[in-house]
Symmetry: C2
Subunit: 323 residues, 2 copies
């Protein structure tokens, strides 16, 4: 191995060692051909993989390395949350250019491992390589969920009510500010939902334990796209009330984002779920506000209602900032 | 999503659908936030991740897309074999440049899925993205092994005998031919161990079932490096006989490779294992020849014996063909 790559492995191994507490589930971690893990009895395994590519998912001039590491793992943890699962271990494949300063990698690992520790996730393996161009990360998260209890994207019925956690559009609106003035530096503390989004694991777990949600997805691509996925999977439609959509507030002083950012902006990592009308969904779960934004319909279209207007809400896919 | 990416997902989903037979283990595959999988009762989960990056692990002008797909999955399956495990499902993260012809992706998937079908592995998920530069693949393989039966890199004792499967050096020697004359086209059929290496899953399974191996690793980095890993993990050394190392034959007519290629060349995906002297290791397992090449020693060095010479065999890491 090239020296830089050896040093990278050693650094990851050292960093991960500090988080390797869960000896009962992660039996063999970094340093063998595979990680060996135990899935809790009566549980099924959940697996998700997500790229974080420089120039596609982040830019080095906009995103501090610590935020890149945090966001990289959030993408995977949020997918586990979307199934109502609990994360067990993460695997990081990381390719870096030869010229990348070591400090960048250290900060990246710091951001990733701080989030891993917060949710008791062990970094249990991965791969390293030299990158031909740019920083390339791929995160794999393994989780578990009690047998037959995973909350899928499918399973909604007409009449089910539609809910979202937290507030929407904060991440995309932050990105728009950066794109408008590419040279500015934003203070990540004033824009946490973009730089340090938190996966909604606690909310998801309670929804699953109480059997409230008929279907769930995380808002990584944006409400219009992700609601489309839910509807497609069950061959139904939805009616959404614009006034009910919780708009995120960003910056200092905080300013509410536009409705468009909340409707189409991705990477909020909030949860979108449906629940039958007979279920009582509290206004807060695990300290996170829950907003009822609409209803599942038999008609297969997704319709947005605002004041006296009705219009079809077409998925406007989240394209990151690829040119 | 960009149109190209949508088409890619649809193509992967369609291709994977054909291989999604194992409904009992892969409960939910591509198309939800996570894959949901069942680990067989009394088994532990194995996970491995491996990059295949254009310019680092393959070159488009040398490696047909089908071979790139095959090799990509072999890397993961071989890691499962090295633990004595059985593969269950694979997850492919694939980022491609906008300009990549669709035919390349189709051929890549064809190579990957042919191998997946051969070993009853379901393609159960992954991620897609636009690549900022070059083709970027990361393969994750989930497997299982009976509880406590994973064959680790550690666990050898002085006196254990050292074995390899098949023949070594074929992949690296092929690569050297390509590097010497970069413009030539080699017929993949004459160089199968480079273009279409087979993971030694059947051999590994029998070794595990019969309890023969005290430690095992797959030869992805090369004998000198991978034997070093085995020795390091147990704080021992080894003595290897040059004449006992099985040299691969490549090309048409077949020519035996140099000893150097067999000692240091990577990506053969053969298995290297140790077994206590009391164990009877057959000369063939699952149709694959098994060669005894040396012995584990108390002295922590790895020594190569050839004719009347003894010299220390230092790990000469496999650097792919990164310049």
């Amino acid at each position: 191995l090239p020296v830089a790559e050896k040093a990278l492995i050693a650094r990851i191994r050292r960093a991960a060692g500090n988080s390797a507490k869960k000896k009962t589930t992660v039996l063999t971690g970094i340093g063998d051909d595979c990680a060996v893990l135990r899935i809790p009895k009566g549980h099924e395994a959940l697996i998700t993989t997500d790229f974080s590519l420089e120039g596609i998912h982040f830019r080095r001039e906009w995103h501090p390395a610590q935020a890149v590491g945090h966001r990289c793992l959030t993408r995977g943890l949020s997918d586990i949350a979307a199934m109502g699962g609990q994360p067990i271990a993460a695997f990081l494949s990381l390719a870096v250019p030869r010229t990348l300063p070591q400090k960048w990698i250290n900060e990246f690992m710091r951001g990733l491992l701080a989030l891993a520790n917060k949710f008791s996730v062990t970094l249990a393996g991965g791969d390293t390589a030299e990158s031909p161009a740019g920083i390339l990360a791929d995160i794999v998260v393994l989780g578990s969920v009690p047998k037959g209890k995973a909350i899928l994207r499918s399973g909604v019925r007409p009449g089910d009510l539609i809910y979202v956690t937290g507030a929407l559009g904060g991440s995309a609106a932050t990105l728009h500010r950066l794109m408008e003035k590419p040279k500015q530096k934003l203070n990540p503390r004033d824009f946490p939902r973009h730089f340090f989004p938190e996966p909604r694991l606690a909310v998801a777990r309670i929804l699953r334990e109480k059997g409230l949600a008929s279907a769930m997805i995380d808002l990584s691509d944006g409400l219009s796209t992700d609601l489309g996925h839910i509807c497609d999977e069950s061959s139904v439609g939805a009616q959404i009330e614009a006034a009910a959509i919780p708009l995120a507030a960003i910056g200092r002083p905080p300013q509410k984002v536009d409705l468009a950012a909340a409707l189409h902006g991705g990477e909020d990592y909030e949860l979108l779920f449906a629940a039958p009308t007979v279920k009582h969904v509290p206004a807060h779960i695990a300290g996170v506000p829950i907003a009822r934004i609409g209803v599942i319909t038999r008609n297969k279209k997704v319709v947005l209602i605002s004041e006296n207007m009705r219009r079809e809400l077409k998925p406007q896919g989240w394209q990151h900032f690829a040119s």
